[in-house]
């Protein structure tokens, strides 16, 4: 079949038309020596992106039976998709079209009209060169599994399970301990019984992840029991939610913190549990304390971040003590007070009215229940009390590293899981289909953890719709079997784990459903057997050779 290229120059109102000589450009393009063998249709339009412009283009493609299309218009950021969508309405494969930006690259930046004309012609010529070397590409549909695996049965995991499970979506919830609930002390009992009653949720306790392969919509999963490691369960899911929670930084590791188990030095969680069980916080001998020192920010400097929620719960513990007995002398040793939740300030004011003291320290050392400190004005002092309660920094669960490896997701420098985009995609991990929520993602209180669980639910609801197929990226990489030496260099550079090694054939193979077409691997291949569809060397060469001539 002989080629017939359509070249459409957009005037963009006066934007392009008044800055270059469109007639001249069209003349020169129509006369190009190296396109003598192709049939060219060269036309102009006042606004190709308008409805009228799009209809015009559609008609032109159909009536002229174009085999290739070049639109000389604006930035692909503005209207590449517009023209791709026009192609999709016609017989022309959208990958046989190219946009050339003669507005931002020529009209808007080159004051000299002659020069702007010259560059526009050169760029359109480059686009025509490229388009002839482009290939048709076709979108493939893949079945997807809507079910979800949730790792971690704390409040975050529980909330995610309850929100996600439904008639058309099963949830597998795994917890490594014996019971669900995690570390939250006041967990609504109702939630756990709701989980147990829900027939679309299958709970595996004393269970951890053993292996996971695949990609969003199609993960193959192996679970193993923590008691009998050979006991494994295999299942399939389309998405994974990681909710493995936090741990306390070990305050005994700090040289300035000298205390033993027998001392009346406890951490906040112990205090919290004591109060929830006995409605009282007591000393090791069962007596009530007359004075209590609450130390904030324990290990904050060492871990390198503020744990966000401890100031808030330390105020709550101070309130427990004051409710237990108004005579208990309660002193907080604080660095800064971090009160990010909107009701905390009121609570703080209330606590202060009850006579709770706040001292700002720059440094301190603990010797049993004796605390020596330097305040922010460099004054040294000492506090001896019956009981010391510590707020240790909250760090990521110790399993995070191993899990990150298994799931192929990144960790943040703090050890918590890393978002794919901290600002605008905050509960998605760096791998599609895997989500990170609750205090596994960073310090979080119960409300934060629950809202993040719902956020991951929203993401999964919109990305994995039961019964709908998923369409993977088509501009992916491929390995030309004949040239691949099996050196596996590409496996090292692929950030998405999209390449695997085929032992039988002795070559590397790209999993097209996982590949994002980033092109990293292409540059790494010593035998030149990798190429990214729509960005092949001949295509780029044809374009560049003209553009830089």
């Amino acid at each position: 079949m002989s080629e017939k290229i359509g070249i459409y120059v957009c005037e963009c109102g006066p934007n392009i038309a008044s800055k270059v000589d469109i007639e001249k450009i069209m003349d020169e393009i129509a006369k190009l020596e190296d396109f003598k063998d192709q049939e060219l249709v060269v036309k102009r339009h006042k606004l190709l992106c308008s409805n009228e412009g799009k209809e015009f283009l559609e008609k032109e493609i159909n009536e002229n039976k174009l085999t290739h299309l070049v639109c000389a218009a604006c930035s692909p950021r503005d209207h590449d998709t517009t023209f791709i969508n026009v192609c999709k309405k016609t017989q022309l494969n959208p990958y046989l079209y190219r946009i050339v930006n003669i507005r931002e690259h020529c009209a808007w930046i080159i004051p000299d009209k002659e020069e702007a004309n010259r560059k526009a012609i050169q760029y359109i010529h480059a686009g025509m060169n490229r388009v002839l070397y482009q290939d048709s590409l076709y979108e493939k549909e893949l079945d997807s599994n809507p079910d979800v695996l949730i790792i971690g049965g704390g409040i975050a995991g529980i909330e995610a399970a309850l929100n996600l499970a439904g008639e058309k979506r099963k949830v597998f919830l795994i917890e490594k301990e014996e019971n669900l609930g995690g570390k939250a002390v006041f967990l609504p009992e109702q939630k756990i019984s709701d989980i147990q009653k829900n027939k679309n949720i299958k709970v595996f306790t004393k269970t951890v992840l053993d292996k996971l392969i695949g990609f969003m919509g199609n993960f193959e999963i192996v679970l193993k029991s923590t008691e009998k490691p050979d006991e494994t369960t295999e299942l399939l899911a389309g998405a994974v939610v990681v909710a493995t929670g936090y741990e306390f930084f070990d305050s005994k590791k700090l040289p300035a913190f000298k205390f033993e188990d027998k001392d009346n030095v406890i951490d906040s969680l112990e205090a919290e549990r004591m109060f929830s069980e006995n409605k009282k916080i007591t000393l090791k001998n069962g007596k009530e304390p007359k004075s209590v020192t609450l130390i904030h920010c324990v290990g904050r400097k060492e871990v390198g971040f503020c744990s966000k929620i401890c100031c808030d719960y330390m105020l709550k513990i101070a309130n427990y003590l004051k409710e237990q007995s108004a005579n208990i002398k309660v002193t907080h040793l604080i660095k800064y007070l971090n009160l990010p939740y909107k009701n905390s300030q009121n609570f703080y004011d209330k606590i202060k009215e009850k006579g709770v003291e706040f001292i700002r320290y720059s440094d301190l050392s603990v010797n049993g229940t004796k605390v020596e400190y330097t305040d922010i004005n460099n004054k040294k002092d000492m506090l001896e009390s019956d009981l010391v309660i510590l707020a240790p920094a909250m760090i990521a669960s110790k399993d995070s590293e191993e899990l990150a490896e298994m799931l192929n997701i990144d960790l943040h420098e703090t050890g918590y899981f890393q978002e794919v985009h901290q600002k605008i995609n905050p509960v998605s991990s760096t791998t599609d289909g895997i989500f990170i929520i609750g205090s596994a993602r960073g310090p979080a209180n119960i409300i934060d953890a629950m809202q993040q669980a719902k956020a991951a639910t929203g993401k999964i609801f919109t990305q994995l719709i039961p019964g709908e197929k998923i369409i993977p990226e088509v501009m992916v990489s491929e390995i030309l079997e004949a040239y691949c030496t099996g050196c596996q260099t590409c496996l090292q550079v692929c950030g998405y784990d999209a390449i695997y090694f085929d032992d039988e054939r002795g070559i590397s193979v790209v999993n097209e459903a996982v590949c994002r077409g980033c092109g990293n691997c292409v540059g790494s291949c010593p035998s030149g057997s990798l190429r990214t569809k729509h960005f092949t060397n001949p295509q780029l060469y044809q374009e560049v050779k003209e553009a830089i001539r």
Partner: protein, 430 residues
């Protein structure tokens, strides 16, 4: 259920935009109602976002573009929700849309109409730091990139000079349309998300800080606009109405915190960001951050704060926020504060930036009445207390996301917006 496919989103900040795109992907028809002539909310005022210091435009412009090009999303700018009747799954919403007097379809955003307009006004979107015309876009890079005409100021429309047709004559696309009228129409939707964001505390309430009296005193948003490359000074740090740069700057944290009654959650970070920006542009400037507490809400924020503290600014503790005073001394601004119960100190600077508290948006009272939803004691939209951890309001079927619920950073707003989408989709599934 009449219209399981329609959802109304009020407010087009990052929270409203994220929810719109997600719901559209799930096959819903979205009506996105925005008061202003443009979409994007407050982040488009910022040049860079902490802590990664990405260019904010690069962060949101693709999202704005995607919204405008999405056939499932109908953007209703210059619009307000007047009334909501009905029940979850079947709400009847009355929307009032003000005339733009410029055709969204015909206008190309070429900008030929503004220079010819004889009416010069202050541009509030630019915090009154620059002028605009009666036909204008709020800022360069506005999306949709289509101007509007301020009907009360335009000579043709307010009748002061019916013969003025200057913008119309300048427009080569016949996009100016004086015949447009305000419209009222009804929408049938099954769920609603309120994402109306925040405003800043009015610092004029605090006379001791000298805002309005001393030109060297700025609000946080004024500073963001000075910092912006598309702003009034194109990103140059000139003192008000001059081309002089400051040698010393004091950034005051927690301004209005006692008056509003809560910590605003983001201003320690935005104030650190401002210190960095000054240092990067004016290497020799002396910068002070006067704080009373430090609020860091993300795992990555401490590092940003520590770096700012060691490289860019001197952090000074202030003991009693109420006792701060700003006055004029030797041609400079004297900031005096207490760093202990009785110990008063002061510094002399050329410029003061007030990190004003975040408060609910101006329209929230009216809107919450129209929607019949409850607000908390601060005026933010309240989430239903009996539904712990949910973002549903007191009226079933209506959800809230972002700073409309309380002050928070971008990711906090996005998380709530994704949670609201889950709420809507769960509801529609039943």
């Amino acid at each position: 259920m009449d219209n399981p496919e329609n959802v109304l989103i009020i407010g087009s900040g990052i929270a409203g935009m994220e929810a719109s795109l997600m719901l559209s992907k799930a096959g819903k028809k979205v009506y996105l109602v925005e008061n202003l002539p443009i979409i994007g909310g407050k982040i488009i005022k910022n040049e860079e976002s902490f802590p990664i210091m990405d260019c904010s435009t690069c962060l949101v412009a693709p999202i704005q573009q995607e919204i405008l090009q999405d056939a499932n999303i109908e953007v209703l700018t210059l619009s307000a929700v007047e009334k909501v009747a009905g029940k979850p799954g079947d709400f009847k919403v009355t929307v009032r849309k003000k005339a733009r007097y410029v055709s969204l379809e015909a206008c190309l955003g070429c900008g030929m109409c503004y220079p010819v307009c004889p009416v010069v006004l202050k541009n509030e979107w630019e915090e009154n730091l620059m002028d605009k015309k009666a036909v204008y876009v709020p800022c360069s890079g506005s999306l949709p990139n289509v101007p509007m005409i301020d009907a009360s100021q335009c000579l043709h429309l307010n009748g002061k000079d019916k013969s003025c047709n200057k913008c119309m004559e300048a427009c080569m696309f016949a996009a100016i349309d004086f015949s447009q009228k305000d419209e009222e129409f009804k929408l049938d939707v099954s769920g609603i998300i309120v994402a109306t964001g925040f405003e800043l505390f009015n610092v004029q309430e605090l006379e001791n800080l000298g805002y309005g009296k001393y030109p060297g005193v700025y609000t946080a948003f004024e500073f963001e606009r000075l910092f912006a490359s598309n702003g009034p000074t194109e990103g140059k740090l000139f003192l008000r109405d001059s081309e002089k740069t400051p040698d010393s700057v004091a950034i005051i944290h927690c301004v209005g915190r006692d008056e509003v009654g809560y910590c605003s959650n983001i201003c320690c970070m935005s104030s650190s960001k401002h210190a960095r920006f000054i240092k990067h542009n004016l290497h020799d400037a002396k910068i002070y951050n006067i704080y009373s507490d430090i609020c860091l809400t993300d795992k990555s924020y401490q590092k940003f704060f520590d770096e700012t503290k060691s490289h860019d600014s001197e952090f000074i503790f202030q003991f009693d926020r109420k006792k701060m005073n700003i006055s004029k001394k030797d041609g400079k601004l004297e900031v005096s504060y207490f760093n202990g119960k009785e110990t008063k100190e002061s510094i002399l600077v050329d410029m003061v930036v007030l990190a004003n508290a975040l408060r609910p948006s101006d329209t929230i009272e009216e809107l919450s009445k129209a929607l019949e939803i409850k607000r908390d004691s601060f005026g933010f939209i309240e989430t239903e207390p009996s539904k712990l951890g949910s973002v549903e309001t007191s009226r079933p079927g209506i959800f809230v996301a972002g700073c409309a619920e309380g002050p928070k950073d971008i990711q906090g707003s996005v998380i709530q917006s994704e949670a609201a989408v889950a709420g809507i989709l769960s509801m529609l599934d039943q």
